[in-house]
Symmetry: C2
Subunit: 114 residues, 2 copies
C-alpha cells in the first residue's frame, strides 16, 4: 500500500517544505482549510481556481499521509469524509500569510472575503 508519505532530498528545512507542498495546488487547499473553513472534497472542488479532481484527490491523500490533514468520516452510506487540519497543518498558517503579503504587494493579488 502506497502511503504517499513524502521523501526528502536534503536536510534543508526549505527544500523539505517544498518536497511536501512545492506545487501549484497543495497550499491552495490549505488556504481553503485554514482561512475559508472549507472541509470537504466538494467545497475544495468549488474553489475559484477550479482544481482538477484527480489532483485534488491526490493532494488530499498526500496531506493526510503526511499528517497535515486528518480524515474524519461524517456519513456512512455513501462514505463521506471531512478534512480537519492537524497541529502540523495549522503550523502552515505563517507560510500562507507571508505568501499572501508577497502576492498583495508584488503580484497585484487581492484578498477575498469568502
Amino acid at each position: 500500500m502506497s502511503t504517499q508519505k513524502t521523501e526528502h532530498r536534503s536536510q534543508c528545512p526549505i527544500a523539505r517544505s517544498l518536497d511536501l507542498f512545492g506545487d501549484k495546488w497543495t497550499l491552495v487547499i490549505m488556504r481553503d482549510v485554514l482561512f475559508f473553513k472549507r472541509r470537504t472534497y466538494g467545497e475544495f472542488s468549488r474553489s475559484g481556481e477550479h482544481i482538477p479532481t484527480n489532483l485534488l484527490a491526490d493532494r488530499l491523500k498526500r496531506l493526510v499521509a503526511n499528517g497535515i490533514l486528518e480524515q474524519v468520516p461524517y456519513q456512512d452510506r455513501p462514505p463521506r469524509y471531512r478534512y480537519e487540519p492537524t497541529e502540523k497543518g495549522r503550523a502552515l498558517k505563517p507560510v500562507l500569510q507571508a505568501m499572501a503579503r508577497f502576492g498583495e504587494n508584488h503580484l497585484e493579488g487581492r484578498r477575498s472575503e469568502r
Copy 2:
C-alpha cells in the same frame, strides 16, 4: 520570443504566488540567492539538492522574466551572467523564513551554515 512571464489563475495573492513559484525548485534557487549569496549558474547547480540543469535554466529565465532576479553580465567571451535579486526578489525572504521555521519544527529539517 517567449518571456515566460507568469499568467495568473485568480485574484488570490496566495494562488498568484504559487503561479510564480509553486514548484520544487524556484524557492531553492531563491534560498541560494538570499541566504547563501550564490549568484551564478555554476553555484546554483552545485547546491546539495542537485537541480537538473534544464530546470535550472528554465527557472532562472522565469525569475528574470518576472522581475525577481536581474541578469548582470560579468564576462564577455564566453558570455557569463550573475543573477542579482531585485527588490521584489528580496521580498520573498519572509516566505522563505516561514518555510524554514515550518521545516525545522515539523519536518526535521536542519539549517546549513554554508
